[in-house]
Amino acid sequence: MTVRLRDLSACFHGIIPSIMATCSKDGEPNVTYISQVYYLDESHVALSCQFFNKTRINVGENPQAFVQVHDPVTFEAYELDLRFVRSETSGPTFESMSVRIQAIASQTGMSGVFRLLSADLYEVVAVRKLEELLSATPADAPKPLPVTDHRSELRALQVVSERLNRAVDLESLLSSFLVALGEELGFDHAMILLPDEARERLFTVASSGYGESGVGAEVAFGDGLIGTVAREKKILRTSDLGGDLRYGRAIRGEVTGSSLAHVLTPEIALPGLADARSHLAIPLLVQDRLVAVLAVESKSPLGFEEWHEAFLHIVGNQAAIALDRMIEDEEVGPPSFVRAPSLPPASRRSRALKFYQSDDCVFVDDEYLIRNVPARILWKLLKTHTAEGRIEFTNRELRLDPWLGLPPVKDNLESRLILLRKRLEEKCPDIRIPSCGRGHFRLEIDCVLDLKEI
């Protein structure tokens, strides 16, 4: 039975390893598993060369090769007779395979060992279904995946786009973006991370579909799937069933060179499904500048297909522009005066807040709260409040304070305030910083403050 290569897209996710056979010029066969066959076009595939092994030596002297790929849902197999064309060490095919392999390497602590030497291109000489591999089909055998209805996704795209346009500030933009991704496009587990001031780390600013929000969790550029996407500014999609390619675990932000490292290390875990089987992370770019990373997960090994990537690209472009505009916008509106009811003084509890200068972080009642710029912002607000009794603040005065270390342009202030607001909600709800109109916010304190600098 003749088959078109493009009909086998499910076989090219690397979910079930493929069998590869080659033969030396002296007629010695070699057979091995390979983790993934990459579809290039109707008559070409690429295989990754990570080690200069027997397979690679054989195709150098005898270009004839063979692979058997499996459909991960039905387990049916397809046979491809191949002819080695060339090895590429640069260019788009190499780059996209390399990014994927770097992410795996970094995630499994194998950076440097596990890297792409070349993308090996093969011409597909013949494709066949392997008949009678499986015994007779029982009535409840899995059916191949249905073809996606792209028209309904186009409508969803329109809805997402409208929601992005309606958002009035960064916080509502982030939350409506995540809600729209879940409701309209079915991405139920998602998070958004923004680069920090030094552009060395990302911090989680919003998430949906996780028990713990993970807001504040950090990832270094280049670390794991998300860090790799940030550094390379390239989309990454992975699916896997197991072994050394298993991604489905949370990465924790690391604290290096710190005397408090032992205390800080478990600070905030990145949100993640313990049983995630597919991951997709996309850089949100404006021109070539990274604005954010959007990461989504699914419990299905085939959770994400090419069309997901395509849709997220479109949505991501719109979100990037909207996010960038919100982050940059200096506009200050009139303050609004809606005040949450505060507790009567008699029922106020005492909260011990400590600012550790050497580690640039704040602990509340001996529990880690926040660090870096948002920690300094909180400390400034609390000290100003204690000294002057003020409760109204503006973004502008924070920008003008050199101690906070905000860069003169394209600062992250709004996103830092969101992060601080959410961390307070989770760890210290007696202190709140609600927004009261663009560029204004208020400090609400329902506890007795016990401030210490160490």
Binding site: K25, T32, Q50, T74, F75
Partner: protein, 155 residues
């Protein structure tokens, strides 16, 4: 001779890949559905289903060169053995039971890494042909920098 430890690994229901080539050095690969080492541990007899084994069986009848790779799905431990075919014959009833037990064991191995048992156990194994190969060389095949290195202490 294949070590006792290696023999136990090979016979533990791990994945069996069979590599062959035709008269023009065109390679081919498929799954085997059972394996037994000879008493002297110098040969392996691997079962190939007749339905999927046509091309591989034609290859071994043509030139007798075979490679087997055994892989444990959970940790990718892999070993490749190469050699020359000494016999090709219809599998016996005893070997049919072996093949059925193999499918059961193998479906258990791959279930651990996520292939539903109901699917794995559907791998057809009968009727089969038994291919016996005298082992000439053994290679490490676990993915990594040492993949392809010859295992010392074996033929």
């Amino acid at each position: 001779m294949i070590s006792e430890e290696l023999t136990a690994f090979i016979e533990s229901g791990v994945s069996i890949l069979v590599g062959t080539r035709d008269h023009a050095n065109r390679p081919y690969g498929m799954r085997g559905v059972g394996v037994r080492a000879s008493a002297d541990r110098k040969s392996l007899t691997v079962l190939l289903p007749d339905a999927t084994g046509k091309r591989a069986l034609a290859d071994v009848r043509d030139n007798g060169r075979v490679a087997f790779t055994f892989t444990r799905p959970i940790d990718h431990r892999s070993i490749q053995l190469k050699g020359a075919v000494t016999s090709v014959r219809a599998a016996t009833d005893e070997e049919r039971r072996q093949a059925e037990k193999y499918i059961d064991d193998w479906a258990g191995h791959v279930e651990v890494v996520g292939l539903p048992r109901a699917l794995g156990s559907r791998l057809a194994c009968w009727p089969s042909t038994a291919v016996t190969v005298r082992i000439e060389s053994v290679f490490h095949q676990t993915p990594g920098p040492s993949a392809g290195a010859r295992v010392t202490g074996n033929p």
